[in-house]
């Protein structure tokens, strides 16, 4: 099966004036993404996530190694037919409206006529910007910019979408909308390659993750394998009576070799609480 993304031993050095040694931003990183997968690259700031993505898009030239998108080398223009990109903190042409922005990127991909207009409309609906489509992008909020950026990335119906910190700087509500859009892409069979430092979200949407630190890939694999703690089991009950709990505890104690580590109420996340108390509120 053809891989959606194939990065092999990618090395990227940046030579900055005034510094003798070049800075190695990416150090022999290899990763492959199967079609339909959602892949998350995580790592602290400055660890080479964006540089890896730029190399995959041909925006920077690798010093060594190769990057391929659906078998096409990234330095070739044709490889970009199949990929949509949302850069980190995107800005768009301020003089264009939301609809004009999508139209422009669509035309760059060779769309025109009715097909283009239909696509623009569909995407504006998808990212929930139908009401703001006639406003200049210069006046968009951070979350709206991120969403028009996502729409722009999808305009030529690419099979792969690359998202560089898609939820950075967006409030939890907007960030959840973007997460839902990613789920939507996944359902439609689109391969997603994203990086983020919002680990909770990565955990929610990704099938596979790679952890990159100081340019090196330190850990990689399917999320379930990486996260499951081999020798532990979780049991979550609803409306359990104190008597039942006592019985269970007694049973466990009588079992040799098994140890009860913790028993108590699971916590909701602050994010869930925030959403429940703001947009999820029934009576404001």
């Amino acid at each position: 099966m053809e891989k959606a993304v194939e990065i092999q031993d990618l090395v990227k050095d940046f030579r900055t004036p005034g510094r003798k040694l070049p800075l190695r931003a990416v150090d022999r990183v290899s990763l492959t993404i199967a079609p339909g997968e959602v892949y998350g690259l995580i790592g602290p700031n400055g660890s080479g996530k964006s540089t890896t993505m730029k190399a995959l898009l041909g925006l920077v030239q690798p010093d060594a190694g190769t990057c391929k998108i659906f078998g096409n080398d990234s330095m070739q223009v044709d490889s970009r037919q199949d990929v949509g990109f949302l850069p980190e903190n995107p800005y768009f042409y301020k003089h264009l409206t939301g609809a004009e922005t999508l139209r422009y990127y669509g035309k760059l991909c060779g769309l025109r006529g009715k097909a283009l207009e239909g696509k623009v409309k569909e995407l504006l609906e998808l990212v929930d910007l139908g009401g703001a489509s006639d406003r200049r992008v210069g006046g968009y909020s951070k979350g709206m910019l991120q969403r028009i950026g996502l729409a722009q990335a999808l305009v030529q119906e690419p099979r792969l979408v690359i998202l560089d910190e898609p939820t950075a700087g967006v409030d939890p509500v907007g960030s959840r909308e973007i997460r839902d859009l990613i789920f939507d892409l996944k359902e439609r069979g689109i391969t997603v390659f994203l990086c983020s430092h919002l680990l909770e979200q990565v955990q929610e949407v990704c099938d596979r993750v790679g952890i990159i630190y100081r340019g090196k890939m330190v850990k990689e694999g399917p999320l379930d394998d990486l996260l499951s703690i081999g020798d532990q089991t979780e049991l979550i009950l609803r409306d359990a009576s104190p008597e039942l709990l006592e019985k269970l505890e007694a049973m466990i104690r009588s079992e040799a070799g098994t140890e009860l580590l913790r028993c108590g109420r699971p916590k909701t996340t602050l994010e869930k609480l925030f959403l429940q108390e703001t947009v999820g509120r029934k009576h404001p």
Binding site: L57, L59, V60, G71, N72, V77, R80, Y91, H95, G110
Partner: protein, 303 residues
């Protein structure tokens, strides 16, 4: 599995899309305000006869000459400044705003992007010069009509022969809106086009708006003095190294000498079609050269 490839460089439609977009961007930056300003000044100066202020001896053909000189001078200034500034703004702005990422992440060959950007500036120059040209020609036609009528009436009163009057009339009409004048406007456009493509090259090299603007203006001045410099150098007799340096400068920096035929047109001389043809050829050569060198640099650039 892989789809048909249709992303060859130099795709006219894609270049057209970028050109039109760049043009829109520049228009919405409100550079056209300058045009309105120009129109206003031309109208007002014509109404108040500013050309005649302090020069009461100015009469007949002199007035027309002064309008031509003033208009072509403004066109030159406007087009050169616009050519440098607009071009210097575009590329660094795209890089700074990171809009370039999203454009180049689409299947857009980098040469198409460069040509499209330059095309947008050229389109803006062409449209603005066209508007100014129409305005100037209109005013000139009107004034020529009045001046000729005045002259003919005066000469008739003095009892000149009809063929003599006709000769004077023809002489004055040369100061009106002639084909040579249109040729001169074309030369102004061509010069601005070369200025813009030089600025494109500079902005690819430096990606700084300020640097590009300053050096762009410098290139324009060096280009204007090249003819003079060459003359001086050939007279003084130089060493080998100096001659080499002079040759390098004259290759990189375009020689704007040929476009200075505009001055002759202001004086009422006719512009030979050969000169216009030569200027078009030279302009095309410089545009191609600048775009090609820009592309060599830009193709390897990282963002």
């Amino acid at each position: 599995m892989s789809r048909v490839t249709r992303n060859r460089p130099l795709n006219p439609r894609r270049i057209g899309v970028i050109t039109l977009h760049t043009f829109t961007q520049l228009v919405r930056m409100k550079v056209f305000y300058f045009l309105g300003f120009f129109a206003l000044i031309v109208m007002v100066s014509n109404l108040l006869k500013i050309q005649d202020l302090g020069r009461p001896d100015l009469s007949g053909a002199e007035v027309l000459r002064s309008i031509r000189s003033w208009s072509l001078g403004t066109m030159t200034l406007f087009s050169v400044v616009l050519g440098v500034v607009a071009t210097a703004l575009l590329l660094p702005k795209d890089i700074e705003d990171r809009t370039l990422y999203t454009v180049l992440a689409k299947p857009v060959p980098r040469i198409d992007y460069l040509i499209g950007k330059l095309g947008g500036v050229l389109m803006l120059l062409f449209v603005s010069l066209l508007v100014m040209d129409l305005l100037m020609s209109g005013v000139l036609a009107l004034r020529t009509h009045f001046v000729v009528a005045e002259q003919v009436a005066g000469l008739q009163a003095r009892g000149w022969a009809a063929d003599q009057i006709e000769a004077v009339r023809l002489e004055t009409a040369k100061q009106g809106p002639t084909w040579s004048l249109q040729g001169a406007v074309l030369l102004v456009f061509l010069r601005a086009a070369v200025v813009a493509s030089s600025a494109l090259l500079l902005s690819v090299l430096s990606t700084s708006t300020l640097f590009t603007t300053i050096t762009g203006v410098l290139v324009y001045f060096i280009g204007n003095f090249q003819g003079v410099a060459r003359k001086i150098m050939s007279e003084e007799g130089m060493g080998f190294a100096e001659r080499g340096a002079a040759l390098a400068i004259s290759t990189i920096f375009p020689d704007f000498g040929i476009y200075n035929m505009v001055d002759m047109v202001i004086q009422g001389e006719a512009l030979a079609a050969v000169v216009v043809g030569k200027a078009i050829g030279l302009t095309c050569f410089y545009l191609l050269l600048h775009v090609f060198v820009s592309w060599l640099v830009f193709a390897k650039k990282e963002f």
